[in-house]
């Protein structure tokens, strides 16, 4: 019954029959989700609160594994393998699939050290290389001008919008293939939101992006593909314009016209 578009371009990720149940939960939070994610494009996930958007997003970098007792089945294909396997190297996976959270998560260290953190984890110690890549990441995240003269300052002194861009800089500094955004602007003011949206669009040249948003306008503004989720199922995945203008599913139609939310 779900209507899933057949993506012709190359895919970054492919979810197949994915099911997810939280520890101790009576029912599955995700039911038989099948979803292709196009490479170098932005896929938005929309749907009412509690429908499973975050749960799906956090499956791509196996964030759920931090908390024991959850169970999942099915397949998520990335770079030719199923990343749900028990042998998957999660540390390596997470350097390939980065994540930006709802609330900015600047570490209690300097701006420079925040951005360099992921690179240092990978063993990069060379000062010139670190300096160059930190600068580049900050420029790519459109925050260089604001912080270039205070890289040694505590990152917590930045505003919310600046911190979120710092987090994006930190995530892209390790050159991931995929970036996951979980409602990255829900804690920000409209101007900062605009900045982040612009940035997300610029980033798709280099990374494939999945963005969870409770804001349909945001999905419409930034994404190429949109998936509508409801009660743990992916009801419809289509090109963003088509999904918002001529949805194929009645539920999608009702949701985007505000009949429920």
């Amino acid at each position: 019954m779900a209507s899933i578009i057949d993506i012709k371009e190359e895919c970054a990720l492919h979810v197949r029959n994915f099911e997810f149940t939280y520890k101790g939960a009576a029912a599955a939070s995700l039911k038989k989700v099948t979803m292709p994610i196009a490479k170098h494009s932005i896929t938005a996930l929309i749907g009412p609160s509690g429908c499973g958007k975050t749960t799906l997003l956090r499956s791509f970098n196996r964030m759920h594994d931090l908390y024991p007792g959850n169970s999942y089945a099915g397949e998520i294909e990335f770079e030719g393998r199923n990343i749900l396997g028990a042998k998957e190297d999660l540390i390596h996976l997470r350097t390939k699939i980065g994540m930006i959270f709802q609330k900015p998560t600047a570490f209690p260290m300097s701006i420079f050290d925040n951005v360099a953190y992921g690179m240092r984890l990978q063993g990069i110690k060379n000062k010139t290389e670190l300096n160059d890549r930190v600068e580049k990441a900050l420029k790519d995240a459109a925050i260089w001008k604001e912080v270039s003269d205070r890289l040694k300052h505590d990152a917590n002194g930045l505003s919310g919008g600046q911190q979120q861009r710092l987090c994006i800089a930190r995530a892209i500094a390790v050159e991931p293939e995929v970036l996951l955004f979980d409602e990255p602007t829900s804690a920000l003011d409209p101007i900062s939101t605009q900045g982040i949206e612009k940035l997300v669009i610029e980033l798709k040249e280099r990374v494939s992006i999945i963005i969870v948003t409770h804001n349909m306008q945001q999905a419409a503004r930034v994404s190429d593909y949109t998936g509508f989720m409801y009660l743990g199922e992916l009801i419809e995945l289509g090109q963003t314009e088509e999904l918002f203008v001529t949805p194929k599913e009645k539920l999608t139609q009702e949701y985007i016209t505000g009949k429920f939310g």
Partner: protein, 281 residues
């Protein structure tokens, strides 16, 4: 009298009584501090820092032995109690979390925190002093270290739990292994709180006398031999204050004043650090 008037009256009485109680408690505190400062400052002089203990009547007597002994005992206790307390607190917050084992450790630690310190002294007497056959700085430091552990364990546990989970997740999401997440992000986020816990832990044992009586015991002379009995400010205060000699009593006052200022200072510093850490966020 209406119901409202009655409530207003009861309210006034309760307020007056509780304010009065607070004033009485504060009154005693300032009385003690006042006497201590007056007598203590009066007894201070350079000789205190230059000379060790001497028989009563000798003008060349001081507290050098007790000051150095106290510093050695506290440093050693810190070296024992701080790493163990922080590591145990880290286990509780980052690994054990809500497991049965973690809860059991928390309960035992809370009991230890309120256990009479003399019991811990007796315990160390049995396991260290008896086998060694004599008192030693080691035994005193171990007793103080054990008393310090639950204080530091508790604050570390509490402070680490205050670090937002999203911060840990963000570090994991960059591919950090767990020990890096703890060292780089969690400890950093809780730095001020842990430091405060350490200072309060040191302050907690700084004034202990009972556990030292049968571990490091006392000595009226300067020593740095860790295998022998070692003087401390607290036991020295006890000995000098209860002695019949006027000059020893003076030294007792000086020791009490120095020790109190040290502990008061640690407490204030601990609170200042915690407050500054909170304000920064």
């Amino acid at each position: 009298m209406t119901a409202v008037q009655k409530r207003v009256l009861v309210n006034k009485i309760a307020l007056t009584l509780s304010t009065l109680s607070a004033l009485i408690a504060l009154g005693f505190l300032f009385w003690i501090l006042g006497v201590l400062v007056m007598k203590g400052v009066g007894a201070l002089n350079w000789n205190i820092f230059l000379f060790e203990g001497a028989p009563p009547g000798n003008p060349e007597s001081g507290l050098k032995h007790a000051l150095v002994g106290q510093a050695i005992l506290i440093s050693m206790a810190t070296a024992i109690g701080v790493p163990l307390g922080i590591l145990a607190g880290t286990y509780l917050s980052e690994y054990g979390k809500n497991s049965k084992l973690a809860h059991t450790i928390r309960d035992i630690s809370d009991i230890m925190m309120s256990a009479p310190s003399i019991v811990i002294g007796a315990f160390v007497y049995a396991i260290v002093v008896m086998p060694m056959g004599h008192f030693s700085a080691w035994a005193g430091a171990i007793a103080l270290g054990i008393i310090m552990i639950p204080v530091i364990l508790r604050t570390t546990d509490d402070m680490l739990q205050l670090v937002p989970g999203e911060l840990r997740e963000a570090a994991f999401a960059l591919g950090a292994p767990k020990y890096k997440v703890i060292m780089d992000v969690v400890y950093r986020g809780a730095k001020a709180g842990i430091l405060t816990g350490v200072l309060l832990g040191i302050a907690r044992v700084g004034g202990e006398t009972a556990p030292l009586l049968f571990t490091s015991f006392n000595d009226n002379f300067f020593t740095t031999d860790l295998n022998e009995a070692m003087p401390s400010l607290t036991v020295t205060i006890f000995n000098y204050a209860t002695s019949p000699y006027e000059d020893w009593q003076q030294l007792g006052w000086a020791a009490a004043f120095i020790l109190s200022m040290f502990i008061l200072g640690l407490n204030i510093l601990g609170r200042v650090i915690l407050f500054a850490g909170k304000k920064r966020k």
